[in-house]
């Protein structure tokens, strides 16, 4: 490279080519370059110089995307939950009831009659009729369907009925 610049100067100005060989007379203190790094570190520490974190520069887009990603994930979870809910039935109690036979349901409700409303118990009486299935008799209940037929048979009952009652039956 020096050869090239010297050739160029030789053509332009032999005087400047000659002066270039003499140098510029500029000097530096002894060991200036050897101690430069230490002096630079001192200056940076004194000024509290800090650089930007590399990740702030290299992945700013990812950082900006985080709130959006979280919102999208939350929305997706809600949608999937709703789809599952409406596809599988709204009331978990119905799932349990579906696995029980009407007889088992009735028996349970009769045993725990105190926990149910009168309307629910009344509705229960209609279930066997609707399903054409007889309800299992329960000795502890006092409903008319569960009363035993007297020993004298049906004739005895008819004898005890008034004319109006018989007319209603016929």
């Amino acid at each position: 490279m020096s050869k090239k610049i010297n050739q160029e100067l030789e053509e332009l100005s032999p005087l400047l080519r000659q002066l270039r060989e003499q140098g510029d007379g500029l000097e530096t203190p002894h060991d200036y370059f050897d101690s430069f790094e230490d002096n630079l570190k001192l200056r940076m520490a004194k000024q509290g110089v800090r650089r930007h974190a590399l990740q702030q520069v290299h992945i700013p887009v990812q950082r900006r995307m985080w709130p959006g990603v979280l919102a999208a994930a939350a929305s997706l979870a809600l949608i999937l939950g709703a789809v599952w809910y409406f596809n599988t039935g709204s009331d978990p109690r119905e799932l349990v009831a579906m696995e029980l036979s009407p007889e088992e349901i009735t028996a349970y409700m009769m045993e725990n009659a105190a926990d149910f409303e009168p309307e629910q118990l009344a509705a229960l009486e209609e279930v066997p009729a609707e399903n054409n299935q007889p309800v299992t008799p329960d000795k502890t209940t006092t409903t008319p369907e569960n009363e035993a037929v007297p020993p004298g048979g049906i004739e005895e009952i008819i004898d005890e009925m008034t004319d109006e009652e018989l007319a209603e039956l016929l």
Partner: protein, 182 residues
């Protein structure tokens, strides 16, 4: 420039990781400190100012290297920072607000600098260089002292190669004339 023994690619690799950043920056300073110092020194002339501007340059490189996108050479990017730092320091200290020295201001500055050991001819040369317009002076420095190829200079200064050759030619003629007049 014998101090540069590591490639820019390797330096940038080191500077790209949090774990090796400090090591990479240390190597970068070691690789470029002399070359940048002499570039700055020929603009500001005094050693004290050159040291100040060089340290500011590396502080800016330290803080700004994460923004270096690799569109130009690493050295070209630092050269630009160093040039701006040197020129702004000179203007800030109001030694020659226009960026050029008139009359014998450069000679006076150098005579006062304990780190100038040149003779009268060298003083005249520095005085003539300092009297050039700012951009012409930069072109002269980059070619005459740093031996920078015109193509690299073109990237650095954003000027065509032809315009740079013409600028250097004019600078040489002006300096020669100034020295001959004395």
């Amino acid at each position: 420039m014998p101090e540069k023994t590591i490639t820019d690619e390797r330096l940038l690799e080191l500077l790209a990781s949090e774990f090796t950043f400090e090591q990479g920056f240390g190597l970068l300073v070691a690789a470029y400190k002399q070359r940048l110092y002499w570039h700055i020194r020929r603009i500001v002339l005094s050693h004290e100012d050159a040291d100040d501007a060089l340290q500011n340059t590396f502080v800016k490189v330290y803080k700004g290297i994460v923004h270096f996108e690799g569109k130009s050479k690493l050295f070209t990017w630092m050269y630009r920072i160093a040039t701006n730092e040197a020129l702004s320091l000179v203007q800030k200290r109001n030694k020659y607000p226009t960026g050029s020295l008139d009359g014998n201001e450069a000679a006076a500055l150098l005579r006062a600098d304990p780190w100038f050991e040149g003779d009268e001819t060298q003083l005249m040369l520095q005085n003539a260089i300092a009297g050039l317009p700012e951009k012409q002076r930069l072109v002269f420095h980059l070619r005459y002292y740093d031996e920078m190829p015109y193509e690299d200079m073109s990237v650095l200064l954003g000027t065509s190669v032809g315009a740079l050759k013409a600028s250097f030619h004019h600078a040489v003629k002006k300096i020669e004339q100034s020295i001959r007049i004395g």
